[in-house]
């Protein structure tokens, strides 16, 4: 295995046409010139595409032809339709959509993982995301009993239990209140759960895609608990309950509930999407997604944990001694390189921006280290701002691929000092049947053939 990798920045190649033809050899460039009447260009193009078909690099086209003053990139020389015609009017799509060229990036199910679509999960395409915000339409989904588009005028939110004044709020009531907006990650407790025993899935979409990060807007739960006159002497836990068929229920510690939990209706500047709990869901920063109860209809204040279905039969972590950890909730420090990542292929040797995300349910990300040699040595990556509490943090680091084998890994440290561990270190303590809370370091093998694959090193 080659371990000779430099982190030296090699950006010089990016500006040079001949070095990175993948940036301009678009589909239009490949098809349009066929209709071109200017024969010298056609010849140039045909020569280039012949080279392509023959399997030699298209690099030859630009490199050779730049000496020829009349040659050039057809995408520059031949004005395309969009430069010579009239475009679409405003509001042609009253609710905007991504470009059709981006349709590869979609939420997807992992074949064989679950048996029915309404009790299943769709994974977010992390491999294509930039920054830290998950586009609303690509937020991962997890439903236990299907999703609904609930009429908000019919939705009610009740607080009862150990309160002086049990109350009912309408959505009008909640939207009239003062609000807060906060950015937080939302990760399913079972994210990366398929990988406890061995490598099971090929890409970061399936290894880590039960993860999203949005700006949520709503009313801090403590204001509402206060409004109902919570009995602070007796109260120790709250139960959150959904309005849908599953009526999802989860216990939350009172300390958490009073800390930063939000009764949220907004996501990324608009109302929550139906798949994410429209019109109301709980936001429980740092805690696994199942506690972010969707279609939230009720909070009960109580003095003991509730041992609900999804904290007794599921979302319990099986330890090697046969005991299940119950109420495991916090999503611990974790990171993953999203590009280059499993299932991708490097188009060329040379410079790559290795990029990924890091997060911790215990606080902020303090540091991310990246290794390209399977963990023999590490370099500190650049953290992009903002760096927020219980929120994704984007990291980047320069890397030059020399064409040999490499194993890319990232390792995050959070503001409490907890450092992300290897899968081997995790298994030593928790075995391999936990299903939940796998926050191990992820390894991506870059093979000499340019393909990146999911591996575990031990």
């Amino acid at each position: 295995m080659s371990t000779e990798f430099t982190f030296a920045r090699d950006m010089s190649r990016l500006g040079r046409l001949q070095r990175a033809p993948e940036f301009f050899l678009t589909r239009d460039a490949l098809t349009l010139p066929r209709d071109d009447r200017r024969s010298f260009l056609r010849k140039a193009f045909l020569a280039a595409s012949a080279a392509t078909i023959a399997g030699t690099s298209a690099r030859a086209f630009a490199a050779n032809e730049t000496a020829n003053e009349t040659a050039g990139d057809p995408a520059i020389l031949n004005l395309l339709a969009h430069s010579k015609g009239l475009g679409q009017p405003v509001a042609a799509r009253p609710y905007g959509l991504p470009s059709k060229y981006e349709e590869n990036l979609q939420r997807r199910e992992s074949p064989g993982l679950t048996r029915v679509g309404a009790a299943s999960v769709s994974f977010a395409p992390l491999q294509g995301f930039f920054g830290i915000i998950t586009p609303s339409g690509l937020h991962f989904e997890r439903h236990h009993q299907g999703w609904w588009d609930i009429d908000p005028s019919q939705h009610r939110f009740m607080i009862n239990g150990l309160v002086a004044n049990p109350k009912v709020y309408t959505m009008d009531d909640l939207l009239r209140m003062p609000s807060v907006s906060r950015m937080h990650f939302l990760e399913c407790g079972a994210n990366t759960g398929m990988e406890w025993g061995n490598v099971a899935v090929p890409t970061v979409q399936y290894t880590h895609g039960m993860l999203s990060c949005c700006e949520f807007t709503g009313v801090p739960l403590k204001w509402l608990l206060d409004d109902c006159g919570i009995d602070m002497k007796k109260a120790k836990f709250i139960l959150a309950e959904g309005a849908d068929g599953s009526s999802m229920t989860r216990t939350i510690n009172l300390a958490n509930a009073l800390d930063d939990v939000v009764v949220a209706y907004g996501m990324n500047g608009e109302m929550l999407r139906p798949e994410n709990g429209y019109p109301l869901r709980l936001v429980v920063p740092g805690v696994q997604g199942v506690s972010w109860v969707k279609y939230l209809r009720r909070i009960e204040v109580g003095d003991m944990p509730y041992a609900t279905k999804d904290e007794t039969l599921h979302y319990v972590d099986l330890m090697p001694d046969g005991q299940h950890r119950q109420y495991s909730s916090i999503q611990e420090v974790k990171s993953v390189i999203t590009s280059p990542s499993g299932g991708q292929v490097l188009l060329d040797k040379g410079f790559f921006n290795v990029t990924g995300i890091a997060w911790s349910g215990r606080g902020k990300i303090r540091k991310v280290d990246v290794s390209v040699d399977g963990g023999k040595s590490w370099k500190v990556a650049r953290l992009e701002t903002p760096i927020l509490d219980k929120c994704l943090t984007r990291f980047n680091i320069d890397w030059t691929w020399d064409g040999g084998d490499a194993i890319l890994m990232s390792r995050a440290t959070d503001s409490t000092g907890q450092v992300q561990a290897t899968i081997t270190e995790m298994r030593k303590v928790r075995g391999s049947k936990s299903i939940y809370h796998n926050n191990a370091i992820q390894s991506w093998l870059v093979s000499a053939n340019g393909e990146v694959s999911n591996v575990q090193v031990g």
């Binding site: 004044n165 009239r176 204001w223 041992a307 119950q326 916090i330 292929v345 023999k376 093998l445 340019g450």
Partner: protein, 434 residues
Amino acid sequence: MFKSVDVFATLRPVLSPLPSRERARVRGGVRNGIGRVSSSISPLTPTLPCRPRSRLHALAAPAAARMRAETPPTPRKGRGGSWLVASALFLIAGIGFAEPNIKNLGRPATPAEIKAWDIDVRPDFAGLPKGSGTVARGQEVWESKCENCHGAFGESNEVFTPVIGHTTKDDIRTGHVAALRSDTVPQRTTLMKLSELSVLWDYINRAMPWNAPKSLSTDDVYAVVAYVLNLGGVVPNDYVLSDKNMQATQNQLPNRNGKTREHGLWELGGKPDVQGSTCMTNCAPKVTISSRLPDFARNAHGDISAQNRLLGGLRGVDTLRPAPTEFVPLAARVSKGATGSTSTATTAVDPAKLAAQHACLTCHGIANKIVGPALIDVHKKYAAQKSDAAKLLVVRIKSGGSGAWGSIPMPAQDHVPDADIRAIAEWIAAGKFQ
């Protein structure tokens, strides 16, 4: 948490100097005031056990705007007379705050409303309604409403992990399911994990049958819980489960002692049990790959090249072909990537996709029965009708109903666009399900 100092820094530009007693009033008032100014008018205020207290941070921006944003009401244990609130109201109203009032939003919940929604049953059985059910009645409920999905013996893997299996008489004695410590059981069954009987009752009551939750009577919930326990060998055939013997039955659960809260993943500030290394150089003498996907699984998640963006220094791997043995020049990949994506964009409506999109496939497998019949079987039944099959199917799909395949009704699908129903009906009639 409470930071009081900043209140004055903020208010001073707006309010003229006040004697210190007045300041105290302002402080108390602001705590209660922002976002709930007129709460002081509410007759409820003085009787509340807890009062809001604001948390103000160092503020630099214009006072009024900042205060609105940064003074959420929060619970506090301290006391404050309503006269403080009243004076704050006056002051704040005087300087132009007009904040929404939480106290006047929402309304008391009525006992009937609480009863309708407060259905949860706790581990100490608080919340459990009175009632009872026999194993025999439970069997009737199970066979008519549960067996379809969970199998006659709760063993089915078809829609979800099995409910019953892999618990022993010895487990009932120890309260620990031994199979949880072995590697012999591929899947954990519900009964293997069940540590609180309350949840079996609560969950079936709130969420099952999956396609018609909250439709069972209280006695039928007792009955079907008794039957599930009977299938698992926990209670005898003549058992009658009731609110009286839930605790006694709880004491028989095979995994009643199988849970622990000894971990750092719950409490705020809980202690982590795994800590990674901070080593930066010479950390691992040798790196060995211990696990990777086998070659035959290369396309188990479809064509990965169609799951990646077509820009930048990377593309998705073409998993429909074997891995190249050496580095493939980029141009070959670029042309494939660029054209590869559009073919999928222009494909005509795929009826299988429509069936998935409209949730038909939640209840109908192509080749297997789920809640409704397998689509292959529907096709066979209608194949005899030849030309009319699609038309008949359109009607049946739109109107739903029961009786043709069993007692479970199919919900009317009139929310699905006609064109989609037609496409799906033609697809079923044609019987070509590839």
